[in-house]
């Protein structure tokens, strides 16, 4: 029985990791080696040419920069705005009618993205924010907010109210007790929430595809998808672009592993 269990886990690991390995493997091969049959299990003449080519004539650096600026700004903005709401939900939720608020925070998650994208396209076009970093930052901030508010609420709830009340009895204002007592305690949760927002927006493709188009504002997923059409059979470059897009995220996700379940279920499962 333990042996069977070991074999099954090993099988799951192989199925999970082999496709990822294959992308890395392909990205390091020369164009000739990519087409050899049977395929080589590791690059015989490893080369970085696929990677350098992407940055020199496929604008990958610009796409990467756009992704970092847009995902980063949206994460910070939504964290700042959403944490305020989260604090109110955690501390005064009962006074405000909890059930109704839950609905309003979670309902946007149920709307199919495609029902929002047509009007957002028309609105952004009207105010001149199509294919602009700012346009996508605003859209992503709004989409992050329910998630940030919900997740931060669960972190705020874990901090005993007594701590704050004790500080306020000692004469501290609510603002001061928030800043000096609550904020330091909740900062690991804030970091995890911010990284989650980053992961979601950095990977987002659908809205980015429709609201941005050129290297001026397009993000990495859009740039990568466009590359597929342009490179045709340059599988090495395609694979390299995939690796560049995937690596930062895998690192980020491993950093927030402990909070992953809470983040994925918006606090429904801890």
């Amino acid at each position: 029985m333990p042996r069977l269990r070991f074999m099954l886990i090993l099988l799951a690991l192989v199925i999970t990791l082999l496709p990822v390995y294959w992308m890395v493997n392909t990205s390091l091969k020369t164009q000739v080696e990519v087409f050899t049959s049977p395929p080589t299990l590791w690059p015989e003449n490893p080369t970085l040419r696929n990677y350098t080519g992407l940055f020199t004539h496929r604008h990958l650096g610009k796409y990467l920069l756009n992704s970092i600026v847009i995902a980063g700004s949206a994460a910070l903005l939504s964290l700042a705005i959403g944490s305020l709401a989260a604090y109110a939900l955690a501390r005064f939720g009962k006074d405000l009618g909890q059930q109704r608020l839950n609905f309003w925070v979670l309902a946007p998650r149920m709307i199919p993205p495609v029902a929002l994208v047509v009007p957002l396209f028309l609105i952004l076009q009207k105010i001149g924010l199509i294919n602009k970093q700012l346009g996508l930052i605003l859209v992503y901030t709004a989409f992050n907010l329910p998630f940030v508010a919900w997740m931060m609420r669960s972190f705020f709830q874990e901090i005993p109210v007594d701590l704050e009340e004790a500080a306020m009895v000692d004469g501290a204002s609510r603002l001061r007790s928030f800043r000096d007592i609550v904020l330091p305690l909740v900062s690991p949760g804030m970091a995890a929430t911010a990284i989650f927002s980053l992961i979601i927006t950095y990977n987002e493709f659908f809205f980015a595809l429709i609201l941005t188009s050129t290297p001026a504002a397009a993000t990495l997923p859009v740039g990568t998808a466009a590359l597929i059409g342009k490179t045709q059979t340059l599988y090495g470059e395609m694979a390299a672009a995939g690796v560049v897009a995937a690596v930062p995220l895998v690192i980020f996700a491993l950093l927030v592993q402990r909070h992953l379940v809470r983040g994925l279920t918006m606090g429904a499962v801890k």
Binding site: I9, L13, T16, L18, P19, V20, W22, M23, T26, V34, F35, P39, I81, L84, A85, A88, L89, F92, D95, L96, R109, M110, P112, P113, V114, A115, L116, V118, P119, L120, L138, A142, F143, L145, P146, I199, F205, F206, I210, L220, P221, A225, I228, Y235, M238, A239, G242, A245, A246, L249, V250, A253, Q257, L260, V261, L264, T265, A268, V269, K270
Partner: protein, 284 residues
């Protein structure tokens, strides 16, 4: 009264942002769905005409069926595999942390990149998957250009990407179950199958509901991997609803009709999630 005032002040910025970016556009979509609205021409109110057309549009119906097959099969298989993995990995053993981290890699990679990974595997000239298939069957198959195999191939990609999600959430659920009932069952000499069916599954019900609902909702609106791998083809074999709406609105510039389809999809999704939630509650 003062705290209430403070609370609303703190919530207001979030509420305004969400209103402006989701409720307002949703309203706009509703209005547009009653209009004949093509790019470069002013919209004209046409009442229920778009919805009337929708009812007779066999392409839209078949895209809904494709989406339904995709979602149900993918979510179902992911649930079974995820539960099996969670049961396999629920006890501590050597390299537990490393194995768990490795298993969740597919779901943190961008869906577009997942598309690239499987393009490389499925490719008829250079793909590992095709090479193995050819070695086994002796035939060269281009999986993504076959009307029969393309949809199962996309479902397989979804299963690879999202089984880790089911696994992770179900594992967390299993590990947070109280231990006493399980100890009592062991004392009574219950078989492990009986423990699983009569204890683990019923106690896990709320977690299962959350995991299945989140996954099914996302599967209903799948777009990225389909866009990268098949663009809906060959023919319309893999044209899921979101992709069809995208094409209608942004390739053929029929904003009004696209909005009507999007509204219809939204209503179906809402009905579905209500039904699933009710079914789960009702059978407790």
């Amino acid at each position: 009264m003062r705290t209430k005032c403070l609370a609303w002040t703190l919530i207001a910025p979030t509420a305004l942002f969400v209103l402006a970016m989701t409720v307002l556009p949703l309203g706009y979509s509703l209005v547009t769905s009653f209009e004949e609205f093509r790019l470069g021409r002013p919209p004209v109110f046409t009442g229920l005409q778009n919805f009337h057309k929708l009812l007779q549009d066999t392409n839209f119906h078949s895209s809904l069926v494709t989406t339904l097959i995709f979602s149900v099969v993918a979510t179902g298989v992911e649930f079974v595999l995820g539960l099996a993995l969670a049961l396999l990995l629920k006890e501590e053993f050597p390299f537990h942390g490393v194995i768990r981290s490795s298993l969740i890699i597919p779901m943190v990679i961008a869906p577009v990149v997942v598309g690239i990974i499987w393009r490389l595997l499925y490719n008829a000239d250079v793909g590992l998957f095709s090479f193995v298939m050819q070695a086994l069957t002796g035939e060269s198959v281009s999986v993504l250009s076959s009307t029969v195999l393309a949809l199962p191939a996309l479902i397989l990609v979804d299963i690879w990407e999202w089984t880790p999600f089911m696994f992770l959430i179900l594992l967390a659920g299993i590990q947070s179950l109280p231990q006493e009932p399980f100890e009592a069952a062991r004392v009574d000499g219950a078989s492990s199958w009986n423990v699983f069916v009569h204890l683990t599954l019923p106690m896990l019900r709320p977690v299962i509901l959350v995991a299945v609902l989140i996954r099914a909702l996302d599967a209903f609106t799948v777009f990225d991997q389909v866009f990268v791998l098949t663009q809906g083809g060959p023919g319309t074999a893999t044209e899921v609803a979101t992709l069809m709406i995208y094409k209608t609105a942004f390739r053929f510039s029929q904003f009004g009709y696209g909005a009507a389809m999007a509204v219809a999809l939204g209503v179906l999704v809402a009905c579905f999630s209500t039904a699933v939630t009710r079914a789960f509650r009702g059978s407790v």
